[in-house]
Amino acid sequence: CGFRISPREPCTYIKDSDSSPVEYRASPQRLLTQSTLHRNSILSSFCTEENVQECLFHITQELASLGLSPVGTGCERHSELDVVAVLNCMNDLIQLHRRELRTLENMEVEQLKSNSSIDYLQITSTQLKEQLELSKRENTGLLERERQLQLKVKSLENHLKNEKEESEHNMIFSLSCKNFRILLRTELAKSKVEQHLWKTDKTEARHEGEMYKTLLNDYDNRQRELLLENAELKKVLENMKKDMVSILKTKKTKEESDDEDIFDATKERVELFSDDAREKLTNGIRLQWRKLKSHVERLDNQASLVDISARSNKDSVSRETHEEEMHKLRLEIQQCKDYIRMQQQLLQRQLSSPCDEEVTSLLNNCYMQQEKERLKGDWKTLEEQRKIFDRERGNFTEAAIRLSHERKVFEENRALWLKHQFLNSSPFPDSSKPQISRLGRKVTARQISFCAVTLQCHLVYRLKYSQVPVVRWANQKIIFNRLCSHTVV
């Protein structure tokens, strides 16, 4: 088992594979045990019974290299261990070892310290790095801000420049604006430009008021127009009715036409703004229209009869045109009727009063009743008057006949008297007869005139103080005048 050790190398050598490497970081105590272990292991294998001399020689060399006194005495081969020297050597060695250990400890402590300081430094360095990062970022941020502010400053400067320019212009503008405003106030005082009015309740109320005024004006205008339109349409209807009546009048007898005339006369006085009157009007128109229609149909039949008898081209054509015209007239009348109905509906809607239907119908009935009774009374009086008139007429005719008789007699007497006169006319005046006859004639004439006068007075008395209406009076006067004209005295 030989192993070579160079004297310069420090004694850190590991021999066996099973010996563990020495950890110099371990604690001194551990180190000691390890070193003892180490020592034991080395000692156990280093020196044996055989190689004592060599070991001794080797140890002496080692000690020499370490600077210690040799331990063995004697020569090279047969050297013997000096116990004292060996002990001293051992003690020196131990001291050395201890010293080494202590330095090792110190070194380890130093190393720990340095390690911890390194750690500390590392931590601080990372912190500082972070701080540095932060501050760098802040710096860039500040730089950026500075740049923006500079830009802003530039733009504000520009703005200021512009404002300065504008203000120069505005001086002119405000001046011209003043003129402008003066223009406004003087020329356009009517266009309501009052910008400095606060929005108070007053202005709001004013606006509301104006708005409602406009609406009301509009409604008033509309209502006025509608009323005018209605009045016009009613007039048109009235005229239409009159026209129809007049058309039919010429074909009917006097009696019927008289009745209708009287009816119309009374109606013209009636107010045409009540439902009653409107209904009367429309009913009247319907009645007239029906009469007209029947009349036209009669004419048609007559015309067709005439056609059948005539049978010429011209007639047929004229008949066609006549029919066309009739058709057109019918259409127009139908349209008028529809229009009237529509107007009536509108009017009813407009003027409908909020009273009960029952009440109105009742009222209508009452009015109807009253009207009926009045009508009856009127009819009675009319009948009476008619009778009186008939009687009077009879009297008049009798009187007329009597008068005519008397006239005839008078004429005959006169003729006789004339004849007598003529025959008895002589150059000798001695007649009493003619006197008598003259007197007779005078008496008869006077009698007639007296008769006529008394008759007249009688008539006047009768007519004046009787209850005969004016129309009858007029008619009777006419008749009497006619009668009187016959009795010329």
Binding site: F180, V193, H196, K199, L215
Partner: protein, 450 residues
């Protein structure tokens, strides 16, 4: 009939002042103001960009020029040409600009109809109106200039706000019973507001000035509805043109129909007069004498005159494409004459035919068939006379007495794209693509061709 010389204009911007004295035209970025009688240039203004919209103020003192791309509005004064006014909407953009009735406020509608800015020219104050609705006709001023009706849309609901134009005070604000309000229009007497739905539903609502719902009218369901609406000048009638090719007339008392006018493709029994424009090209082969050739433009232009046709008459119909949006069918144009006696209508499926209805008899009075689709028609503001143009070089006039076709004598051909009457009824302004021309009517009776 005299024609003036031809002047340049751009963008069809040519308007006569309300007082009838001046004519303003835009040529690119310039605004030219002329005297109407002499056509002398009185003022010349330069705007910052090409003008998109130009409008006179109601008192004829100021002109508004709007440049939508730049978001700018410039106002010029006629009396003081040195006076400048520039309204800049900035980044919010500008899609519409108009005067208020008093002529001292400008209403700008910003992009996407986000708001309406009211600029006061007197106090330089600004007011904002929020949530205006972007629709066919979302804003209308009453004729007396007192009230403004504005359609608004908030939270998916339609509202109408009525403002007093004095101080822009909100008078009434009410919700309308519509799904998608398409337009508002005041009656000429200012007491009734007509509100109509979009074409997906036929519905017209009539509101009183104080916000009460007077009546609702719906002619039919489940089909395309209202296309155009027009009030008669007397406020008696409201004419509604719809996609079913019919016009319904509502009366102002009951708000129910008094008449329904149909536009059939074949006219049979009618008392109306049917005029048809007949073109007669001059026969070139016949006489090629120097005299004829030297006539110049008249040789190669077509003369046309009207002929009366007796019913039955068949009108040319163009069937609309059902696949495309905005089908060309239905009554798109309605116009009442100034005395409310006549109503002129145009059915898009028979675009070359104009129908004139007599409002007293409620029946068809005349049918005018042209050779090309009618582009524009307008009634004379003083009498019952209708002027039309079809995009060719002729001007057509109809009156109850008869019908006449007049060629516009301009070198190089003048295609009349639109026209407008002067307020006095004495002259017409004819606008071509890039030019304009004035036509002076004769004061005595015109000769009628038929």
């Amino acid at each position: 009939m005299n024609f003036s010389e031809v002047f340049k204009q751009s963008n069809q911007l040519c308007k006569v002042s309300p007082d009838g004295k001046y004519l303003a035209t835009c040529v690119q970025y310039r605004l030219v103001v002329r005297d109407v009688a002499t056509l002398q240039i009185l003022q010349l203004y330069t705007c910052l960009d090409q003008v998109s919209h130009m409008e006179w103020s109601s008192d004829s003192q100021f002109i508004l020029c709007a440049m939508y791309k730049r978001g700018l509005v410039q106002v010029w004064s006629l009396e003081q040409p040195d006076w400048h006014c520039k309204i800049d909407e900035g980044s919010i953009g500008l899609v519409a600009s108009r005067w208020s009735p008093d002529g001292r406020h400008v209403l700008n509608t910003t992009e996407f109809s986000l708001r309406i800015t009211v600029w006061s020219l007197c106090t330089k104050a600004v007011s904002y109106i929020k949530y205006p609705k972007a629709c066919q006709k979302g804003l209308d001023f009453s004729r007396d200039g007192c009230y403004m009706a504005l359609a608004e849309r908030r939270d998916c609901k339609d509202y109408v706000s009525i403002f007093v134009c004095d101080d822009w005070h909100l008078l009434r604000h009410f919700e309308t019973e519509t799904q998608d309000l398409a337009g508002v229009e005041w009656s000429p007497n200012g007491c009734v507001l007509a509100v109509w739905e979009s074409c997906l539903e036929y519905k017209v609502l009539l509101y009183s000035l104080d916000g009460r719902l007077l009546s609702t009218y719906s002619a039919y369901e489940w089909s395309l509805g209202i296309k155009s609406v027009s009030w008669s000048p007397s406020s008696q009638f409201l004419a509604i043109g719809s996609y079913d090719e019919m016009v319904r007339i509502l009366n102002h008392i009951t708000w129910k129909t008094v008449a329904q006018f149909q536009h059939p493709s074949s006219i049979n029994n009618t008392k109306a007069v049917v005029y048809k424009e007949v073109e007669k090209r001059p026969a070139v082969s016949e006489d090629l004498s120097i005299h004829n050739i030297s006539m110049g433009s008249t040789l190669f232009s077509t003369q046309s005159k009207y002929e009366i046709f007796l019913p039955p008459v068949h009108l040319p119909v163009v069937k609309p494409d059902p696949e495309r949006a905005n089908p060309k069918i239905g009554i798109s144009s309605l116009a009442f004459s100034s005395d409310s006696r006549y109503l002129a209508t145009k059915n898009d499926s028979m675009a070359s035919v104009v129908w004139v209805w007599d409002m007293q008899k409620m029946s068809l009075a005349a049918v005018l068939e042209q050779t090309a689709p009618v582009r524009c028609f307008q009634w004379d503001p003083r009498q019952a006379r209708l002027a039309m143009c079809t995009g060719n070089n002729k001007l057509y006039l109809w009156s109850p007495a008869g019908c006449v076709a007049v060629q516009v004598p301009a070198e190089g051909g003048f295609q009349v794209q639109s026209l407008s009457w002067h307020s006095s009824g004495d002259s017409l302004i004819l606008l071509g693509k890039d030019h304009l021309c004035l036509c002076y009517m004769e004061t005595e009776q015109e000769d009628k061709v038929l």
